[in-house]
Every structure is written in structure tokens, then in C-alpha cells.
């Protein structure tokens, strides 16, 4: 691990118990990827595909850029739903993973 002096908040992923330090101004998803952690599905990382949808259950997140309303409506955003690639931590926070990677090619649909 390289030394990283940026101020950080603790991010907890409720389903997996994963806890990692995410820098201020860094997205929740980028922070997870940087540390080689898992828990939140990784997709386009640009606010478009929706697989990294999360719900902040405790603490606060700040929006870093535009997100596709196909995946998080304005109402949902007000209720704490977010795309992890476009929100960063504004305090220590806990989140539930909502987005789900689904099977393609018609394989494993019954699983």
C-alpha cells in the first residue's frame, strides 16, 4: 500500500461487512477499487449503467457528477439512493448494495 495523505472517511458495506477508507472528493466506488476491495458491483464507473446503485443507510454522501435517471430517480436520490461511482463520502457512512449484475446469454437465469 502506498502512503496516501488525503483526508478520508470510513465506508461500510452492510451486506459484506467490508469497511474501507474513501478519500474526500473520491467516489465511493473509486475508493473501493483503489484498495482492491469488493462488495459494490463495478460497471461503467461513469454514472450511466446503474450496477453500482447503493442506498446510504447512515452518514452522508456528496454528489460528484451527473447520474442516469434511468437508475436513480430524483425521489430515490432524496431517499438516500445513489450510484457509488458519482457520490463521495461527506462523513463516515454505511451503505446497502442495491444494484445487481444479472446473467446474460440466457445462462443461469434460474439461479
Amino acid at each position: 500500500m502506498f502512503y496516501d495523505s488525503r483526508p478520508k472517511f470510513q465506508v461500510s458495506v452492510n451486506q459484506t461487512g467490508e469497511v474501507y477508507a474513501c478519500a474526500v472528493g473520491e467516489s465511493l466506488l473509486a475508493g473501493m477499487i483503489r484498495l482492491g476491495r469488493r462488495g459494490i458491483p463495478v460497471g461503467c464507473v461513469n454514472g450511466g449503467c446503474g450496477v453500482c446503485k447503493v442506498k446510504v443507510s447512515a452518514g452522508r454522501a456528496e454528489k460528484l457528477g451527473p447520474i442516469s435517471r434511468a437508475h436513480v430517480t430524483e425521489d430515490e436520490e432524496n431517499q438516500g439512493f445513489a450510484l457509488a461511482c458519482r457520490f463521495g463520502p461527506a462523513s463516515d457512512l454505511s451503505l446497502d448494495v442495491v444494484g445487481k449484475i444479472q446473467k446474460a446469454f440466457g445462462i443461469g437465469l434460474s439461479k
Partner: protein
Amino acid sequence: MGILRIGHVSLRVLDMKAALDHYINVIGMYKVMEAANGHVYLKCWDEWDKYSVILTEDKEAGMNHLAYKVEKDSDLDDLKKKIEAYGIAAKIMPEGTLPSTGRMLQFNLPSGHDLRLYAQKEYVGTEVGTTNPDPWPDNKHGAGVHWLDHALLMCELNPEKGINKVAENTKFCTEVLDFFLTEQIVVGPGGAIQAASWLARTTTPHDIAFVGGPRNGFHHMAFFLDSWSDILRAADIMGKHKTKIDVAPTRHGITRGETIYFFDPSGNRNETFAGLGFLAQRDRPVSTWTEDKLWTGVFYHLGEPVPSFTEVYT
């Protein structure tokens, strides 16, 4: 003659400024026009018609419509009759519906994707012209892609509910639009389910492709490059611009294309695709990839599942 080639993609982006930086400085396109409604039109250096990508700022990412150019204006009337006889509604949109573009025949594929055909688009010429043309222009920039090459659409596939929009689109495109099948993926008992298909009108391995997934959507549009060294250079440019690369340079088994998958700043997937692959011909036998080898078909070197390839799209 009917359909000549892919004409353009109209794409939704979340942030126009970021999108233009990507399509101009990373991909290497040229901005040719901005309409009164804010839509921006772009072309590649080796294309002679006015534009091949339309960017529209929106609250969602994804594709508005996909368009192909036909040879003759009368092809639009002939194809309208054939499409309607097949049982799909089709309408003529008048000249000027899109700037610099003649009348368009609009219909939805069985999957629901909005497809347009047109015969006329304003000619502006390539960046090297037609008299003693240089192999590439001095104002080439970014990855310097030659042209929009193909598009891949995600189509609902749910065998348990009897839904297979890949097979329905393939049947429609071959029987009505006169595409021919070059390659396919088949899954399930006895390979009875057509889970993906690649179809051509030109001599390249595909001008359109369909892959089965949980919902309809836009998988990617691809831009043509000459060679593997151009692919390496394109990846360098993506590194320089911090472009989100989905799949680093590799080769497809299917189409044999040399490839990079990456995302635009709104999460729409792009591809740079290099190499001839093979000469697509109507009498060339169709290549079939089976369920146990399908990932070798998609990414030939590793041959392992890359979940984002099939499950992340706009």
C-alpha cells in the same frame, strides 16, 4: 441494393462538455455542427458524409436511434412495404427531420430498438479529399479513428418465458433487411437457443450485432482502426485521459477483431476495432460458438467470463 452500411448513432449523454472532450480528444472525431436544440453532430476523418454520431444531452444515458444508409431513395419505399408486410409498423419521416439528412424510414426492431434508414446525407468529403489523397490527414488527433464501424444492441433473452429478441431480430434483419449471418453463439440443450448473432451487409464481419441479456439496451458502438499498433496507441491516449477502460487491448474470437472496450463519460460503451477479421460473404459458412466456448469467442486470449461485457450497458 438496399442497405449500404451503418450511417450514424444518436446517443444520450449526461454532460455534453465531458462527452465532447471524449469524442473529440480521445476518439478523434470532428465536431461538424451544433443544432438549435443543442444536439451536436460529429464525424471521423475518413468519413465523407456529414456526420456519424449525434450527441443529445439527457437525464439518462443510452441510444436514441441507430441509422443505416441505403443506396437509392426508392429503397426506402421498397423496404417500407417489406417491413409492413412482415407485420412491423414503419413510417417515413420527412427530409430535414435531422439536419443535412434526407427523408428517413423509421421502424422498431422486434426488440424495440429504434432503427432509421436514409438514402441522403450531405456530402462533405474526407479530411484527405479525393485528389492524390494522403493516407492520413495532418489534423488527425486522439485515437484518430477512421469511421463508425458497427453497433451491438442488447436484446431481451429469457428462455424460461419464451422471450428471445436476439433470434427475432436476426430473423427480421436477414429476411426483410437482407443482412446475412456471419457468426452466432448458441446455448441450451442441443444449442437450441440463439443467444447472440453477428450480421453483415458489407464485407466486414459485422455491421450490426445482437447479444441476449436481461433487458434491451445499447451495448456499444465501434470505431475502426487499421492495426494492432493503432490499438496500443489508442489505449495510451485513454490512459492519458483517464478514460475508463472496460476490457484492455485483446482479440475477439468472434470476428477476429482487435479490440478495446471503454466507456464514454456517461457510461455508454465504445470500442476501437481493428483488423479485417475475415472477408464476410453471403456464401461463407456461418461460424457457430457453443456454450462451453462462448467466452473464448468473446475474448480469445483469456477465454474467461468478463461479467461487465454482457451485464453492464446503457
